[in-house]
Symmetry: C2
Subunit: 437 residues, 2 copies
């Protein structure tokens, strides 16, 4: 049998401890699958004394992950520290430069420095694996990087944040407010004390930026993403969506258009009968559309110590099955130096259907004024419904419009016009509709 693969783990939180435990518990099976033993020979974390439910006495302890990355007797450096700078970036860079394979679950690091790190890995002929960085246990990186070779992707979209999907699922199922669901999510550990990063879409954007690069062969562009969170989604939206045959999900979408690549994260209406609409709670899902394969959808646990550990171990096993001298496929599907610059399609050129919910003063001519603004901007309507179900049904009405395919620019102009007309009681709500199979 080949020599054992020596693994160094930096970061022993939930995921790190889970990786170490599974590697120990499944050692015999992993050896059978990989043709060699996988052993944890070095670890690093903040607190050496903490009990993590796994025996790490056989591993050498390092206080400093960079020291581990450079000086430990390891073949693979597993980075589970987190953060786009600091110890994570320094140790991953050091490991790659020392010629060690790297496995990381760090979406922030890759989103910011992935192309640079990929360049180092490819120059050294070593692997940089990161299945756990996007959609937890779902093997979307392997699918896009390996299984879809030769496919030209037209669109990739997904539910990439379990916190948001948990909140939206409970809002719909139980009729609760966003605030109440968020509080419950925090109590259950599905949301952070400061939930901004999740609920405003930043976490989804990090993950999306990596998928975009894999899909389109472009350099990662985490700052060129249109971003809208879920904090202004109300029961009125959820109910109206349901009546119209839609469900609201926070999607990350990357799409090739005539003017460039659209990257957007926003609440989205998807048809209730679509597969992705059935993805509930903290589950994640990714759909990929290509010219040859067609449409593929993967759904599964997007977070959690074990699911994330499973992806990390899959990455380690792939390295264990490889041997020195093996020339690997490029980190982001195409060689880092051949990734082309990201060309951003402006959001104003986005084409699609729109849901528009307006709370208007109940007076003559309002309905006509709204319809006129739509017509002026050449927006044709699939449906227009007037409800008397507002807070003050005697003086206010709710108008719900669903448009046929139009452009973001037209919708913005129309809504600005409606606001200027002075008929609105409240801020208008605009939610994009996404095709989904």
């Amino acid at each position: 049998m080949a020599e054992a693969l020596r693994v160094g783990i930096a970061g022993l939180g939930t995921v790190g401890a889970s990786v170490a435990r599974v590697l120990a518990e499944k050692a015999a099976e992993l050896t059978r699958q990989c043709g060699r033993d996988i052993i944890v020979s070095a670890v690093s974390a903040r607190d050496a004394s903490r009990d993590r439910g796994v025996d790490l006495s056989g591993a050498k302890w390092f206080d400093d992950p960079v020291d581990l990355a450079c000086n430990a007797d390891i073949d693979v450096f597993v980075e589970l520290i987190g953060g786009e700078e600091g110890a994570a970036r320094a140790s991953v860079t050091a490991a790659l430069e020392a010629g060690r394979h790297v496995v990381t679950a760090n979406k922030a690091l890759l989103s910011r420095h992935g192309v640079e790190l990929a360049g180092i890995a490819e120059e050294r002929g070593i692997l940089l694996n990161y299945e756990a960085a996007v959609a937890g246990g779902i093997p979307v990186i392997k699918t896009m990087r390996e299984a879809m070779a030769g496919n030209t992707v037209s669109r990739v979209f997904g539910i990439l944040n379990g916190t948001c999907n948990y909140i939206l699922t409970r809002m719909e199922a139980e009729g609760l407010s966003f605030e109440d669901c968020l509080k419950d999510a925090q109590r259950l550990g599905y949301a952070e004390a400061d939930p901004t990063f999740d609920i405003e879409g930043n976490d989804t954007a990090h993950k999306l930026s990596i998928l975009t690069s894999l899909a389109f062969g472009s350099r990662i562009a985490p700052d060129d993403i249109y971003l809208e969170g879920i904090s202004n989604i109300t029961q009125a939206d959820i109910r109206a969506a349901s009546e119209l045959g839609y469900r609201i999900k926070l999607l990350g979408v990357a799409q090739r258009t005539e003017t460039g690549i659209e990257q957007r994260v926003h609440p989205t209406m998807v048809p209730t009968a679509s597969v992705i609409a059935q993805v509930h709670g903290v589950t994640n899902a990714v759909a990929i559309e290509t010219d040859i394969l067609g449409e593929l959808l993967l759904s599964g646990p997007g977070a959690g110590g074990n699911a994330t550990a499973s992806a990390v171990i899959g990455d380690i096993a792939d390295i264990a099955k490889s041997r020195p001298g093996f020339q690997h496929g490029p980190v982001f599907g195409r060689p880092a130096k051949e990734l082309h610059p990201y060309v951003r399609a402006r959001m104003r050129t986005h084409e699609g259907g729109y849901f528009i919910r307006l709370t208007v003063h109940d007076r003559a001519g309002v309905f006509a004024a709204v319809a006129t603004r739509m017509a002026e901007n050449e927006i044709s309507l699939e449906s227009i419904v007037q409800h008397a179900n507002g807070a003050n049904p005697e003086t206010q009405k709710t108008v719900i419009l669903v448009t046929h395919e139009t452009t973001e620019a037209a919708v913005r102009r129309a809504v600005e016009g409606i606001v200027a007309d002075g008929h609105l009681v409240d801020k208008p709500q605009v939610i994009r509709i996404e095709r989904a199979g």
Copy 2:
């Protein structure tokens, strides 16, 4: 750049022609992804003169695929002939023995001879890739063989036959009979002139037997599968399922139980709100449940020239990225000689919920007699409903029972008892209910 990877394709039907065309059209992109050119250097098919919409003039023609496998200047032999014996088996065996990597889409061949062929490949240190053999374009082999390393699978199940799913989808959507939907499927090319192999579940069984081996590390056992097709599913079943919150799908299910491994293919009721219930038409889906990752679901096109070609090309690209001397992971996840014998769990020990539809004579005591037979066999009922919607509502009634979790043996005894009681007008219908998320 490394030397070009030379591919020989045996079989130039829809899939073979599509593989050759995509390799030509996406040559530059594939070279970027794989770090070397991929060229079709040899082909074999029955008719050399046929126009296949792709220029094969650069490839050497072989009349005999075995001759191609042994004597062509190739690195990879792509078998797209089909069939479990004959030219397919002979040429794949010859290619492996000549030390050539093999890519095949042939589920029948693998189902019957996969372990033997894997043994040859592993001895020679070469690859036998077969992503296209199960669920067409869905990367389920790569997911189970690579991404799920270290996971212990408890159950794998899926919609593995597009013909059956197309028929069941149309029956539900349009209220048509099985026979009418089958005729349409034949007209549209979704079903063969002799549809037995698809509609009686044999095709699903072939694919399931391969997934079972990957899931449980057991030798492939295509003959130890409980088999029931969809030809006796009626509108009465579809409607009753819908009223109860279920949808009927032909599933292949492999499951670890206390007494062994269950492999079964049968019409199944899955909750309408589950993800797999939204998989419509010719689309396939596979769900995998494991101890570490949790539950993963993949859905996508299960057949068609392009989708199948995409899987074949992914397999070829994986070989192109590897280099001589590379030691690959085993063909079925564990080395062929370490796959343990398949231990069959008898169908009688299967545990689950059951749907039972009875057409009974409308006379006093029938309802009580049915309930008594259930009670005798310790089957507790979730619901029991009597309908007057039979063909002869004045003399007949329909009784629909849904059981709580029970055993196949108990249900069979109860139904035999009901039949013996002489109250039935028609054959009883029994459909198993499957948990699905």
